[in-house]
Symmetry: C2
Subunit: 159 residues, 2 copies
DNA sequence: TATTGTTATACTCTATAACTATA
DNA sequence: TATAGTTATAGAGTATAACAATA
């Protein structure tokens, strides 16, 4: 399989300069690093990025329907089910049947869910400030605008 | 499980404004959209984002050791193994044993691997231009700088 | 003892197809 | 028929522990 070879490995650094020309590569690296740190931030609350986002949406939009929630978070309905299951089992949200349309559910945060959301949000906000502490306010604003622009363009391409 | 309820779902839109305050949320959405589109770009070449990146690094750093490559890409050595397996089976790269340190391997791209890398790079570059077409050159530069700053800060926090 | 590549494993995220109950 | 929620499943990415060969 691995035959011996005369090739001499370079002494020191490994250059990824060819990849660094792509914003997608920078985005992946930045997001992975941020995400790994955010996991640690949310761990004490028993939340992950997606369960926090889901809880936040339900707190902010009482009575929300799962299909609207999935669309709002840009995730598949099928994948949302187990996330809401988890939040419901922890009694952070309730699932009830809509009287208008008995196919649909209405999602509402419990008082406990609202409290956990508030506490976790403080930690997430602190994490967000920390991770962008190397940027000025104008730079933060420009970054946000650029990210939304890229999302819109990329979504316009694909599906 | 789902008991009936008096709650009336909101008529129209689902607001994620509370989440939009976090750059991490914008980054996740932007990266997911970009990544989904990049998958389609690389599909004709039989490559994924990680296999393309790995091939690029090996082309640019002949004789590279897997441990250095993993560090350069910020992925685990264990996860690199199957990626190199795949590239080796397709005869895009070769794995040979280093004569200096017989524990280590030397990775080299074959001519076929170099050609595939060049072709795929054209497509990736076009995709990158397309997805950032809503940004001016200064905005692109600022975005790149901000992403690298965030990566450095986030990695400084965690591991 | 420590490091390199490797194997095994587990968890998360994502995507698709198909089912049920309602409309 | 179409839609909402659900189930099942598969693929990809990521992380950790432990092992054999070598240093």
């Amino acid at each position: 399989m691995a035959r011996s070879a005369p090739i001499i490995p370079p002494g020191g650094e490994t250059s990824d300069s060819a990849l660094r020309q792509f914003i997608g590569y920078d985005m992946k690296r930045a997001f992975n690093a941020l995400q790994a740190d955010l996991v640690r931030t949310l761990e004490p609350f028993g939340l992950r990025m997606i369960t926090y986002s889901t809880l936040a949406m339900i707190v902010q939009n009482p009575g929300l329907r799962p299909s609207h929630l999935a669309a709002g978070l840009s995730i598949e309905r099928a994948n949302l089910v187990v996330i809401v299951d988890e939040l419901e089992q922890r009694e952070l949200v309730t699932r009830t049947t809509s009287l208008q349309d008995r196919r649909a559910h209405a999602l509402t945060a419990t008082l406990e869910g609202q409290k956990l959301y508030r506490d976790a949000t403080e930690a997430v906000a602190a994490h967000d400030r920390l991770v962008t502490s190397g940027l000025s306010d104008p730079e933060r604003t420009a970054l946000r605008r650029a990210l939304r622009q890229i999302e819109a363009t990329a979504r316009g391409q694909g599906g």
